[in-house]
Amino acid sequence: MRRLNVLLALAVALGLAGAGAALAQDRARTKEVVIGLGAEPRTMLAVTIVDWTTNTQLEHIYDRLLDRDARTLKPKPMLATGWRIVNDTAWEFTLRQGVRFHNGEPFNAESVKATMEYLQNPASKSHYAAYWKLVKEVQIVNDSTVRFVTEKPWPSLIDRASLTDFLVLPAKALRELGPAKLAERPIGTGPFKFVEWKRDERLVLEKNPDYWQGPADVSRVTFRFIPEFSSRLAALLSGEIDIMKDVPPHTVDAVERSGRARLRSAVSSRINYLALVNLRPGPMHDLRVRRALNHAVDVDELIAQVLKGRATKICGPLSPANVDYAPVECYKHDPARAVALLREAGHDPAKLQLTLDTPSGRYPLDKDVSLAIAAQLQRLGITVNVVVNEWGTHLDKIKNRNTGDTFFLGWGPSLFGQGVIEPLFQASQTYSSYGNNPTIDAKIARAVTLVDPKARAAAYAELQKLAHDEAAWVPLWQQHDLYGVAGHVEWAPRADEKVWMYDAKVAP
């Protein structure tokens, strides 16, 4: 019995030790913000792992070379104050002076060069090596000027530089401490400094008082990792967290009515689509069948009924949030036309059997959307067998081209044309569903090297028209990013999915 008492005392002590978690009112007073995300970061080292969750947390610690305007999403100065095209294969960046890393080390041309060298070093096993492989080297022109020399003309360089694809590391610390130490205690130039990372629980950051844009209003940012929507929501409504990512559309009312939090939403650049697979044998080889499906699926109904209006319809492969977007005409919802096209292609809708592969829980209500699409096609008499896959299996099937005739996928953030058109419309690519079209292949090869903005816009407009006419997908929508934000925090999400607490204000 005495042992029992000791255990009990121990448990109580543990409980009390952890009970210091501050209440929402206290947080408002001390200007602390707690954000509930679905997963934890995979590393604390910049430019190593491509993952939205990781980078959205990292960019509080590290700065990008260039930022994007919150509204227009055009590149704008950050650590680099300006850029110019020297020639077809060289870009020059002017760097901000007087910026220091959290350890006191100055930010300069050396930092940019060291960052590129780190990520291109095979030993780093960085995912970003693939993104930056066209860069031959970074030359130091002087302390505050660097030149990116590329192997061939690469207009999208500026698009990459203005994402989390280039978060700048400290050169000296990288050399002296090594990546492993930096991964434990990250050092950046960003508005917040690293405090602690409790695995699978929380990441705590504190305000950097010497930030070059001036200190943030928020004094402390805590990211908490809560995988379930419903748990995140309960945590938000009970005041455990202040900002919640991905409010499920059907619980929007519950958030608004709670009095504790409001809904903040942004039309994301992330798109969802139904791929009509012509890279494997089947009815989707026939353009008429692909067009028929575009007429048969009622996207507006899906948005209204399944997503409760929380999505913005798209008609081509790029969304208006993409810098290379050009409008294309929508296929009209027209079941009669769909049936006519199917018959023309030699299919009796009542005898047509299709398979639709979908992930579950990866995109907003993905599985439910797929089931709803199947129900819509059913109205034409088409039998659709929906196969719900675990995410890894879904990717495997797409890669090995053994999905069904159609599959559901999301893509993003898709802010520039190359990032969507190149990987998704050529047979040689991992996740494409459509390809073997020599015209499109040739036009993509040309478009990705065009440096002149006008010619580039024209080339991408043409590609979008082609993808639309070929009915390679049933384009669905841009996702809406829905955030629940506590009353005392002023913050709004943006289309490029940057969740940046430097922009947040806390009103007690």
Binding site: L16, G18, A19, L45, R199, S231, A234, S238
Partner: protein, 305 residues
């Protein structure tokens, strides 16, 4: 005693080695791990280059040899997802799982054993019937459903308890109840029948005849003698408690070993899966060894061979 310990040790090593080999072979068949942690918008040949660099393009025997060579040094490789040593990641999660398991074990002992004893002592009274109903229901209620319902009532509706995660005592309440529920039902039923067995024994009759107080009869003579089957079951179930922890931790976002393993399985993060299997096997064997040693202590007649 030493021979016994040595043979147990040899068995443990064999068991762990066989489990690891089986899991290694199985995970290698489960699909391409590289796609899951690579960005989607890079070229196919870059993905393949990565696969090459990580050694996934080597023949399976080569990979296995490399794995064994590392494993004997306690090196299970780097987590594919987190880029850190897998065993370290697993061991980091162990205290949280232990805390949860210990709390539920405590809860089980505080609830189930008294319940079982009371049922046995007051056999065939309404108290006993009520106890039976509770245990039968407890045994039939799936833990994950109980967890969902508790979250619905206490977190979503009443907002008394946090839905998950760690922090204070409040965070521990629902997960430990869920983990304890099933276990308690079995322990309570077993305690009842074990106590009933002992109560019929002659030395209890003697003790009573001597005029010992009932509390002493139950407390000292009966409980001690009923302890063996209870401890045996507890040991046997230890593995299933770890299994239960997988589900409980997932529901309540508890940062323990079970949740890590589920995530690793979903992400095909093989080094973590293997390290977790290793740790689970070792822990389980240690628990059973402890149970064996407890026998000797509980019942001096049991000699360890």
């Amino acid at each position: 005693m030493r021979a016994y310990a040595l043979s147990r040790l040899a068995q443990t090593v064999l068991v762990v080695f066989l489990s690891l080999t089986a899991v290694f072979m199985m995970v290698r068949l489960s699909g391409d791990p590289v796609l899951l942690f690579m960005p989607m918008d890079i070229q196919a040949k870059d993905v393949n280059e990565f696969r090459q660099r990580l050694g996934f393009n080597d023949p399976v025997p080569v990979q296995y040899a490399r794995f064994v060579a590392g494993a004997v040094r306690g090196d299970f490789g780097e987590s594919l997802r987190y880029r850190r040593d897998a065993l370290g990641l697993v061991l980091e999660r162990l205290p949280a799982t232990f805390l949860l398991a210990a709390t539920s074990l405590l809860l089980t002992m505080c609830v189930a054993v008294p319940l079982g004893v009371l049922s046995a002592v007051h056999r065939n009274t309404p108290l006993d019937h009520a106890g039976t109903v509770v245990t039968v229901l407890g045994q039939a209620t799936p833990g994950f459903w109980l967890g969902l319902m508790l979250i619905y009532v206490f977190s979503v509706r009443l907002r008394w308890l946090p839905t998950g995660g760690t922090g204070g005592l409040a965070h521990l309440v629902m997960p430990s109840i869920v983990l304890a529920a099933f276990f308690s039902a079995r322990i309570a039923r077993l305690t009842r029948s074990a106590v009933l067995d002992v109560l019929g024994a002659e030395y209890i009759l003697t003790a009573r005849a001597k005029g010992l107080r009932e509390t002493r009869v139950i407390g000292k003579h009966t409980l001690r003698n009923s302890a063996i089957p209870i401890v045996t079951l507890a040991g046997l179930e230890a593995g299933q408690v770890l299994g239960g922890a997988v589900i409980t931790e997932t529901i309540f976002a508890w940062p323990g070993l079970g949740r890590l393993t589920v995530q690793a399985l979903l992400n095909r993060d093989f080094p973590i899966v293997l390290a977790a299997v290793f740790v689970v096997s070792v822990v389980y064997t240690l628990i059973n060894l402890t149970v064996d040693l407890l026998y000797g202590w509980l019942d001096p007649r049991v000699r360890l061979r």
